[in-house]
Structures are given as structure tokens and as C-alpha cells.
């Protein structure tokens, strides 16, 4: 391997325009020499800014360096150069899968397979993600808030009788507060309805509360459901309202899909 | 199963609304002499009898204190204990003065009970059919009338 690196480096010195940097970067990556691989990829990119494979190599190096958001942007730029680039679709599939966004991961992996159906690595990756998605669907209903930040700790959809429908609320101490919150939400809503009626405020639209340890937003995405979004004190009320708005859209879509 | 009984049916709806909205656990509507008109939540006749007699006594004694102080009659008394609160309040109707005794728990507040008492007294006034002024209740009649109303209240 060291000989390979030496010979490819020598070739690159002889001919800086050579595309051998792609193989050299890949070998250095495989050896765990991330910094060296990054230098080779960036040098190659300077000479070949429109070479999709060079960006793809750089994105994979960024993943090795745990710079996932940056890697995503690089792969997205690859798709602007070549919308069918298999490496970019495969990479994006991996990134979305690692974030739990299985739908988007599957979209990219299917496009990766379509680009080259003979690549067994990509076919196997697609099958593996499909298996995970199928097992989740079989075990529990599709999460209404998949892909939402805080979906597993700070978003809760309940029915009008105080039963949890989707999402979860975890307290700061790590306790699952879902059932208790779901039960209390009905009481607070009934009291809001009465308050709004008796004070002639009209129909209630939302409730925002700020507490000593966090903020919360309550709305009714449909006539028979309530949506509660909880965040820390660092998320101001305005941003919380936006989050709740988006979560409300997701909840309505999910509720519509649940109805026969 | 309903826990409400009323001598006169027109009082049922306002009383039901009051106990639901105010979160009252027990409620008694009576005349200042202790004659029971309707009750909610009591399960034994003896408790109604005792509550009516004590409520009437409190209304009478605070009325006398008001007179001594040259004040108009006290309209609302509100006591809050650790586990229960008590509201005792009088109001005028076309059939004369009536008194409401309500017991509420920690899930309600003096403010809520007073707020919905105001609505209740207005609803009772509106629903109350106008008749001749109530006759003076004599001591001799009191026990018989109380027993009659208790029989009606518990359908015995």
C-alpha cells in the first residue's frame, strides 16, 4: 500500500493535472490518513472544480472527519453537476439514514441503484435500509414527526380524551412524561375553552407558556387532537411557534393518513 | 347516576350548571329559614338537615351582626380550609330570599365559586316562577316542612 501511495504521489508530481489524485485520496482515506486525503482532494479540486468525482471524494473524506453537514452540502453540489451521480446519492442516502430519515435515505439509494444496478454494494445498502424501514412500520405506526428535531422528546400529539397518538415528551431528568402530559392537556384545553368563552375572547388558537426550565406551545391541529411542543429556554417563543406550525402540518398529514 | 335532587324542577338546570362550572362537591339551596329547595352531592338526609340548619343559623347570625354594625346584609361568606372551602351566600328572587351553601375542593377556588355563584343566582332569578311572598316560617312548622322537603329531596 505504501508503495502505491509513493508511486501515485510521484505520478502526481510529474503531472499535476493527472486524475490519479482520486485514487490516491481514496487510498489515504482507507489508511485513515484523513488530513493527507483532504489535502490531496482539495488540490485536485482546485485543478478540476467541475469534476463530480473529486467533490464526491472530498465529501467522503468529510464524513470520515465527522463533518456531516458539510459533506451533505458537497454531495448536493455534486448532484447539481451530475444529477445521476451514484456516489453522491449513495452518500446522501447514508447521511439521511444515519439521521433516522429513512424516507429520504431510500429515495437517494433508489436513485443510486438506478444509476448503476450492477453495483452490489449500493443494492445491498438499499435492501438493508428497506428492511429497517419495514421492521419499523411493522412494529409501530409511522412516526408523525419523523425528521423533526426533538421528535423523540419534545413533540406530542394527543386525542381529545388525553391519549397519546404520536411523539413523546421526555423531562429534563430523562423521565418519560408522555402519558402524564397527555392527560393534563385535556384539562388545560377545557379550561382555555371556558376562559375564552366567558371572557368573550372568541375561539382559542394557541397557548404559549414559559417556565423556569423551558417553553411550550399548545395548538389544536384538528378538531379532535392537540399538539404540544416543548423546548428549552434557549428556543424563544417566536421560533417555538414556527416549530409548532410545521409540526401541526405534519400532524394533519399524519392524522389524514390514519383515517380509513 | 345523578346526585342532584330538587323540590322544584326549575332549579335543577341552574344548580347543575353551578356545580359543574364551579367544581362544587356539595351544594344546598334553601330559604333563610333552612327549608331546603334543592341539593347536590349529599347522600344522607341527616347531613342535609345539619347543613341546612347550620347554614341558616350562620346567615341569621351574620345578618344580626350586620344590623349591629349598621351595614347592609352580608351577601357572601367564603371560608377556605386546607382541603375544602365553603361558600355561603344569599340572593333575592321573586319568591323571596334564598341561600346557597356550597362546598368545594382544592380543584376549585373562591374566585371560581363566587363567579359561578353570581351566574347561578341570576339563572335562578330568571327561572323562578313568581308567586306570592313566602309565608313566615314558624318554629312549629319548621321541622315538619324540613322533613317534607327532605322526603322530596331523597325520594323516600
Amino acid at each position: 500500500m505504501a508503495d502505491d501511495v509513493r508511486s501515485m504521489t510521484a505520478e502526481l508530481v510529474r503531472d499535476p493535472t493527472s486524475l490519479v489524485f482520486l485514487r490516491l485520496g481514496e487510498v489515504l482515506r482507507a489508511e485513515g490518513q484523513v488530513d493527507a486525503a483532504r489535502k490531496v482532494a482539495l488540490t485536485g479540486l482546485e485543478r478540476n472544480p467541475n469534476l463530480a468525482d473529486a467533490h464526491d471524494l472530498y465529501a467522503r473524506i468529510l464524513v470520515d472527519a465527522s463533518e456531516l453537514d458539510y459533506a451533505q452540502r458537497v454531495w448536493e453540489s455534486v448532484l447539481q453537476i451530475d444529477p445521476r451521480h451514484q456516489g453522491a446519492h449513495k452518500g446522501l442516502g447514508f447521511l439521511h439514514y444515519s439521521r433516522g430519515d429513512l424516507d429520504t435515505a431510500l429515495d437517494h439509494l433508489e436513485l443510486a441503484v438506478a444509476a448503476d444496478p450492477t453495483n452490489q454494494n449500493v443494492v445491498q445498502a438499499l435492501q438493508a435500509v428497506r428492511d429497517v424501514a419495514d421492521s419499523l412500520t411493522a412494529e409501530e405506526p409511522v412516526d408523525a414527526f419523523a425528521g423533526f428535531e426533538g421528535q423523540d422528546r419534545g413533540i406530542l400529539l394527543v386525542d381529545s380524551q388525553g391519549r397519546a397518538l404520536a411523539g413523546r415528551v421526555m423531562t429534563g431528568e430523562g423521565h418519560d412524561g408522555t402519558d402524564a402530559v397527555a392527560a393534563h392537556l385535556v384539562g388545560v384545553t377545557q379550561e382555555m375553552v371556558r376562559t375564552a368563552r366567558m371572557l368573550k375572547l372568541g375561539d382559542w388558537q394557541w397557548l404559549v407558556v414559559e417556565g423556569t426550565d423551558g417553553n411550550a406551545h399548545l395548538t389544536a391541529p384538528s378538531g379532535d387532537s392537540l399538539l404540544f411542543v416543548v423546548r428549552g429556554r434557549d428556543v424563544p417563543a417566536g421560533r417555538l411557534a414556527l416549530l409548532a406550525d410545521h409540526a401541526g402540518d405534519a400532524a394533519r398529514t399524519w392524522l389524514a393518513a390514519q383515517r380509513p | 347516576m345523578t346526585r342532584m335532587y330538587a323540590v322544584d324542577p326549575w332549579v335543577e338546570k341552574p344548580l347543575e350548571a353551578f356545580v359543574v362550572e364551579a367544581g362544587a362537591r356539595l351544594a344546598l339551596l334553601m330559604t333563610p329559614a333552612g327549608q331546603v329547595i334543592a341539593q347536590y352531592g349529599f347522600t344522607r338526609a341527616v347531613d342535609v338537615m345539619a347543613a341546612a340548619a347550620l347554614g341558616a343559623a350562620i346567615v341569621a347570625s351574620t345578618g344580626e351582626i350586620a344590623k349591629l354594625l349598621d351595614e347592609p346584609t352580608f351577601s357572601v361568606l367564603n371560608h377556605q380550609g386546607k382541603r375544602h372551602g365553603i361558600l355561603l351566600a344569599g340572593f333575592d328572587t321573586p319568591r323571596g330570599r334564598m341561600v346557597c351553601l356550597a362546598v368545594y375542593g382544592p380543584d376549585s377556588t373562591p374566585g371560581l365559586v363566587q363567579l359561578f355563584f353570581e351566574e347561578f343566582s341570576r339563572d335562578v332569578r330568571d327561572a323562578c316562577p313568581e308567586t306570592e311572598a313566602p309565608k313566615q316560617v314558624l318554629a312549629a312548622d319548621f321541622e315538619r316542612e324540613l322533613n317534607e322537603s327532605l322526603s322530596a329531596l331523597f325520594r323516600t
Binding site: 415528551v169 421526555m170 423531562t171 429534563g172 431528568e173 423521565h175 412524561g177 402524564a180 402530559v181 393534563h184 392537556l185 384539562g187 388545560v188 379550561e191 382555555m192 371556558r194 376562559t195 375564552a196 366567558m198 371572557l199 368573550k200 375572547l201 372568541g202 375561539d203 382559542w204 388558537q205 394557541w206 397557548l207 404559549v208 407558556v209 414559559e210 417556565g211 423556569t212 426550565d213 423551558g214 417553553n215 411550550a216 399548545l218 404540544f228 416543548v230 417563543a237 | 377556605q80 377556588t109 373562591p110 374566585g111 371560581l112 363566587q114 363567579l115 353570581e118
Partner: protein, 116 residues
């Protein structure tokens, strides 16, 4: 209304769109002091605000976000804004739906500081 509370509440009611402000005993739902436009039922605002904030705080405690500091109930024809003073009272404003909530919130917080 005492002069002390009058000044505090007037600062809130001076905000355009505010229909009334009051200081309420949280546990009892009774008014300590109020400054209300005609037609606003003070005793109803006090009793219902006390109740709705208690319910809201039970949800907050269950979800681990602590004690109530501020509540904003938005409705089609008006808003209810509440700040807990931290000493058994609430400062409450009732306002038009288009009121500058941020400004009222600031005045309520100022009032709460002065009341406690």
C-alpha cells in the same frame, strides 16, 4: 385601588390594545387590584386566569419545564397574558388580538417585579 398598584397597572393599560390589567391572588382567583375598561368582567378574568394558569402549570410540571413564568393565550377576539410574580400573585392583561404582545409582556414583567 391603592396608588402603588394604580401606577403599576396604568403602565400596562397604556399599551395600545390593552383592555384591562389586574393583580390576582393565584390560589384564590380573587382580585387584589385592577384597572379595566368598561365591559371587562374583572372577577371573571381573575377567577378564570387563576384556574387556567393552574392547569397550565400542571402540564408544565409533567413535561419538566418547571414553574410558570409567562402565559399567552391567543384567541380569535382577544388575548390573555399572564406573568407570575413568584410570590403568590399574578399580573394579568387582557387585550385585543393584534396587541403588541412583546411590549405588554415587558410591562407585565416590570409590574411583577414591582408587586413582589
Amino acid at each position: 385601588m391603592s396608588d402603588r398598584f394604580k401606577g403599576i397597572l396604568d403602565a400596562i393599560t397604556r399599551v395600545r390594545g390593552v383592555r384591562g390589567a389586574m393583580i390576582v391572588v393565584w390560589q384564590d382567583g380573587l382580585i387584589v387590584s385592577d384597572s379595566l375598561m368598561e365591559g371587562v368582567r374583572g372577577n371573571a378574568v381573575a377567577a378564570l386566569t387563576s384556574s387556567v394558569t393552574k392547569y397550565a402549570e400542571s402540564v408544565m410540571l409533567a413535561s419538566g419545564i418547571g414553574r410558570l413564568q409567562f402565559l399567552h393565550l391567543q384567541a380569535s377576539n382577544g388575548v390573555l397574558l399572564v406573568v407570575a410574580t413568584g410570590s403568590e400573585t399574578l399580573v394579568v392583561a387582557i387585550a385585543e388580538p393584534s396587541v403588541n404582545v412583546g411590549l405588554v409582556r415587558l410591562e407585565l414583567i416590570r409590574a411583577a417585579e414591582a408587586v413582589k
